[in-house]
């Protein structure tokens, strides 16, 4: 492989140092580009570490790791035939909460503050799975407090399924829009490069600015998503034992936050580089038709980050 690479770079005997000789029909090979592609190869291996880990951990997750009635990785979900109750109309919220809190805690779900009340109010509360007889007794008690309840039998999953609100807190709609946004930033980036390749520096500046703005919107949406997941919303116990989706909540949460978090960090790094490019580009003549390799190199990085997101969106959110 090394040999092949280098013959392509140095076609004739005296390898020409530093001169970026254009090969027939191909873009010129510069040290910057070679280094950037090697850097991207290291990035591929880094994300392989994270995404590969996610893939194998998910494939190896036992079939009862997630369920609609118990917190993640609870051994109780291994037992078939249990039934829980979805509390649709809470009635007396306080009393219902007082009644089911010990039940939740007995099954490893600890809600702090008023989280449990919020959960009940929003109609997302599901009681942990019990034997059918015990569930009936509980249903009667709840009805006496004015609640409407619906029986819900135990479903277990090896991994949270998309759109399953009992186990999966991720909003696909929001992220689909965000994916859309990031792809747009990729096209503005490549248009910035195309502009300077035509020698149009002012267009290039505009497209760079557009890329920065759109990239920041993507990041902003991600921050918003994180905030909702970790602090904003209260989720049923099938998502997290304490109602908040945080890196420690489950293996799914660990994988999700690590992968998307490191992707977000890469986006942030890209935005900073783009800002530097934009500020230096304000100086007239800094980038010209003949000399614009930093635009091209940062562009390569930016598109790579976009490419990683295309994969993450698919394997983390949609599958």
């Amino acid at each position: 492989m090394a040999h092949e690479t280098a013959t392509a770079l140095a076609p004739d005997a005296p390898a020409s140092p530093r001169s970026a000789k254009p090969l027939q029909g191909h873009s010129p090979v510069t040290p910057g580009k070679v280094a950037m592609w090697f850097f991207l190869a290291t990035e591929v291996m880094f994300f392989t570490g994270l995404i590969g880990t996610y893939i194998v951990l998910r494939a190896g997750s036992p079939p009862t790791a997630y369920s609609n009635l118990f917190p993640p990785a609870s051994a109780k979900a291994e037992r078939p035939g249990l039934v829980g109750l979805r509390i649709e109309q809470p009635g007396d919220v306080e009393a219902v909460a007082r009644l089911i809190r010990p039940l939740y805690e007995a099954h490893g779900a600890y809600y702090e503050g008023h989280d449990l009340e919020h959960l009940i109010e929003q109609g997302h509360a599901i009681t942990p799975g019990l034997e059918p007889e015990k569930t009936e007794a509980l249903a009667a008690q709840l009805r006496s407090l004015g609640a409407t309840v619906e029986e819900e039998s135990l479903h277990t999953y090896a991994w949270p399924l998309p759109y399953d609100t009992h186990t999966n807190p991720l909003s696909i709609d929001l992220t689909a829009v965000n994916t859309f946004i990031l792809i747009c930033s990729s096209v503005t980036m490549v248009l910035a490069l195309a502009a300077i390749q035509r020698g149009d520096a002012s267009r290039m500046r505009l497209w760079l600015l557009a890329t920065i703005v759109i990239g920041s919107v993507f990041l902003g949406v991600q921050v918003y998503e994180y905030r909702e997941l970790m602090f904003g919303h209260v989720y049923p116990p099938g998502i997290s034992a304490d109602g908040h989706f945080r890196p420690s909540s489950s293996l799914f949460a660990s994988c999700f936050f690590t992968m998307t978090g490191f992707h977000g960090a890469h986006v942030a790094g890209g935005i900073i580089s783009l800002l530097i490019l934009f500020l230096t580009a304000l100086k007239p003549g800094r980038y010209t038709q003949a000399h614009h390799s930093p635009i091209e190199l940062v562009g390569l990085y930016w598109h790579f980050v976009d490419l990683v997101w295309i994969i993450l969106f698919t394997v983390v959110y949609l599958i």
Partner: protein, 129 residues
């Protein structure tokens, strides 16, 4: 790799007028397609995974070929990225037998659940209603 240009300038010109907008539109259409495919196929894991991976693969390839100019670049880019891809595949494949196979636990039903009152788990204080 089909196109060859006589000069560097022509090459740059070709890059500068590559069909970026078309590619962009295709990417957006594919994203929408993915979105609805995932909605329709939710529940059918095999179809979901296969279809979505193909769609994502096409998107990734478009970004690499057009936006990252791999289409206009020499073969040396492949010489860097293909080995990385192979190693990545080797790593994930080799992790599969140990980590990626769901632990089958045939004992669970007989030993634990045949006894209805057996302890349920680590922090099981007993079910009280």
């Amino acid at each position: 790799m089909a196109v060859t240009y006589a000069t560097h300038e022509e090459q740059e010109a070709a890059e500068a007028h590559a069909p970026y907008i078309k590619v962009w539109v295709v990417l957006l259409v594919l994203t929408v397609l993915e979105y609805f495919y995932a909605k329709l196929m939710a529940g059918n894991m095999t179809a979901l995974v296969l279809g979505l991976l193909i769609l994502a693969g096409i998107k990734a390839a478009l970004v690499a070929l057009y936006f990252m100019h791999v289409k206009f670049e020499g073969r040396w880019v492949y010489a860097i990225m293909v080995p990385a891809g192979i190693l990545a595949a080797i790593l994930v494949l080799a992790l599969m037998p140990d980590i990626g196979t769901a632990p089958e636990n045939p004992d669970v039903e007989e030993t634990v659940w045949s006894a209805p009152n057996a302890p349920l788990g680590r922090d099981e204080p007993g079910v009280r209603v």
